[in-house]
Symmetry: C2
Subunit: 197 residues, 2 copies
DNA sequence: ATACTGATTGACTCGTCAGTCAGGGAGCAT
DNA sequence: ATGCTCCCTGACTGACGAGTCAATCAGTAT
């Protein structure tokens, strides 16, 4: 594949992110993506076998980077609380850096239990499992309480972050810089410290 | 509207729940609903103006019951921890009683930020707000810590329950009776107690 | 020059499905 | 009996959009 071809493929992927974020996967037409990318309709099918394959590519590209970041946190020998913070931080920074892409991934894949969620359960589970391992290790070390199932805790942790992203997505407003930092702390406080009572 | 007509309307709604749960809203055809209900295609349009209106009806019917249950918990003067437990319990019992309906509501509405989520944000927010008020009151009473935003805590609480439902939905397996009880406790423990560390 | 390869174009096909509509009963009043 | 009002039917239409394909263009090798 020539250099120009690599570029065009990228141009189409980037256009798809904007279109999926704006209109949603089901509502947009392939011609919308072609228009946004400034290429002919047919060229989309030169690079991708189907509309779905474009979304798959976008998801996998980003998710693999995230899995690497989680593995990195897991491998480090920092205290579990900081390992969790590193993961929360990575996901929130991903949103800060490219909110459209994160919107597409959350809305069209990880929260779409029927359509693409089904296709990618495996990949999604890998993230939950890695987080679960961090919690389980902390429980063995006596740093976290052991009467809460580690897989359950992982769900709560990842679910809370996704819930925050969803809230930002729904609001449609740009998120002030200090809120990103504040939320990182609040997520870890909530999961590790709880509300009390 | 005659008694027979009320029944047919109900038959169509119940059939729609099964079809939406099995195939998803976008993938199913209106004729699938008619077939499942054992009525003619056109009758669906006699009772509902559109396919979307069926989903709206299903969602609003159930959501209003849930809002009432949350209001009930809020009104009671039990300790906040038990108020939260009552809400968690209500949602989990809803799933136990009619998993298909809860699947449809979670998958097709509350987690569908683009399509029906958008339409019903208002209703969805009402639930979050009520939970937030319970937390805020507990914070004023000094029972919950005050350095976590009450709206954020409400997100975490509701988000965790929805995450658990999603997990059950994804698994496709019937949930053992004892797990329902166990999860109610775990949700409250997680949100109020945290993991420690 | 000629031939070959891959990139690019956009009009067209073809299946799908939400929603329409004209009509056929069933009950009930007058 | 006649008319009226719902309930109910399912064949049909019209729009829409994913994916195809035959043709053109650009670069590069021989």
């Amino acid at each position: 594949m020539s250099a120009a071809a690599v570029d065009k493929r990228r141009v189409i992927l980037d256009a798809a992110v904007r279109v999926f974020a704006r209109q949603g996967f089901h509502t947009c037409r392939v011609s919308d993506i072609a228009d946004e990318a400034g290429v002919a309709y047919g060229l989309v099918y030169h690079y991708f076998p189907s509309k779905e394959a474009i979304l798959d590519t976008l998801f996998l590209e980003r998710w693999d980077v995230m899995l690497a970041a989680i593995a990195e946190a897991e491998r480090s020998d920092r205290p579990p609380r900081e390992q969790l913070r590193a993961i929360a931080s990575f996901i929130i920074e991903s949103y800060r850096h490219d909110p459209d892409l994160m919107k597409v991934i959350v809305v069209e894949v990880t929260r779409a239990a029927n359509t693409f969620g089904r296709t990618h359960v495996g990949k999604i589970m890998q993230a939950h499992e890695a987080i679960g391992r961090i919690v389980a290790q902390a429980q063995r070390d006596g740093v976290f309480r052991s009467d809460i199932d580690s897989a359950f805790a992982a769900q709560a942790f990842y679910g809370l972050i996704e819930q925050v992203l969803t809230h930002w997505i729904f609001s449609g407003l740009p998120v002030p810089a200090e809120e990103f930092e504040h939320v990182k702390t609040e997520v870890v406080e909530m999961i590790c410290g709880g509300l009390g009572g």
